[in-house]
Symmetry: C2
Subunit: 196 residues, 2 copies
């Protein structure tokens, strides 16, 4: 989509992210977004082809804005493994509620939007892999296992793995719940030594 005025485009994206984060869900209207951005409803279509296009763009905008990679990377300031893990958990817990409502609104759109669905599926896949890679890095650094009881680490990291996957795998990708639990178990066993 061409972008007449980049500033206006940014304001639209910010307005969308704000309204969705405030809990509007699918109920957020194009007119609400336009009003929040301080432009007319029709002007939104000068920047984005349709609602789906805007929502997908918003997920990437949130990433860009918050510099997620930096937030999810292990903090260099923290000294013990426990501190680094806590920092990771906090970053993730702050990131997820920003990105999640947007994805939900996307997935719940009209079933005719197959394009939007698959775009979001790819997006969630990326997020999951990024999360698993960050956890792997935490472990490979040798900073996690020594400073922390294995059982506690496992509990916390299951939380992180679970949240962004449930809806994606069972609905968008057609995984069964059984497959999902199997995947979670396998991932946890791979990343941490459970009962070994």
């Amino acid at each position: 989509m061409s972008s007449p005025n980049p500033d206006t485009r940014q304001r639209i994206l910010q307005a969308t992210a704000d309204l969705l984060s405030e809990g509007g869900g699918t109920g957020v209207r194009m007119s609400d977004i336009a009003k929040r951005a301080g432009i007319s409803r029709q002007a939104v279509y000068l920047h984005f082809a349709n609602r789906a296009d805007l929502l997908i763009a918003t997920t990437f905008y949130v990433d860009e804005l918050k510099d997620t990679a930096a937030r999810l990377a292990p903090s260099r300031a923290a000294e013990t493994g426990r501190e680094r893990l806590d920092a990771f958990v906090e970053a993730w817990a702050g990131y997820l509620p920003e990105i999640y409502p947007i994805g939900r609104a996307l997935i719940d759109m009209s079933p005719t939007d197959e394009e939007a669905r698959s775009a979001w599926a790819q997006r969630m896949q990326d997020m999951r892999e990024g999360c698993e890679a960050a956890i792997s890095a935490l472990k490979r650094d040798g900073d996690l296992a020594p400073g922390l009881p294995a059982s506690q680490a496992t509990d916390l990291l299951w939380t992180l793995l679970l949240l962004p996957n449930w809806e994606h795998l069972t609905r968008t990708c057609g995984w069964s719940q059984k497959q999902y639990l199997k995947h979670i178990t396998a991932t946890a066993r791979r990343l941490f030594v459970i009962d070994a």
Copy 2:
């Protein structure tokens, strides 16, 4: 709502549950439901005041139909604690995907439906308490702890506790993510002895 013909009402509820489970999400229309139930669109309104009313009724219908309490209760046939836990996990993993899409469709409805939102909040609260009570019973029976490594039980049960709470607590009830993590941690520590 008065129910002209109970059979028709049942067919509507079954059609709604089926369509939502098949992944239609918020995109499931009243006309789709009517078609699946084999009646006219307008006839649905003879049984349910509106879309929200129908969705809420569907959550209770699923419970009634599947006899959830029986499925979530520890299986008497299973002998070891591990077997009973596995049965519980399987029952829960089968129940959740049936009830969850309906709740999602409810939460994502137009933000004007405050009534529907609070009805669903109560519904989720009940589910969470039911889940925690079932887990408590498993533990109180003394069948869980002895037969099973504590770390493995914790991993599995965190999965069960997490899923139905995330959306409910952080969106519908206005909990922050920090409050949510704290609640999960406290519950897990209360139900199982972690690091003690």
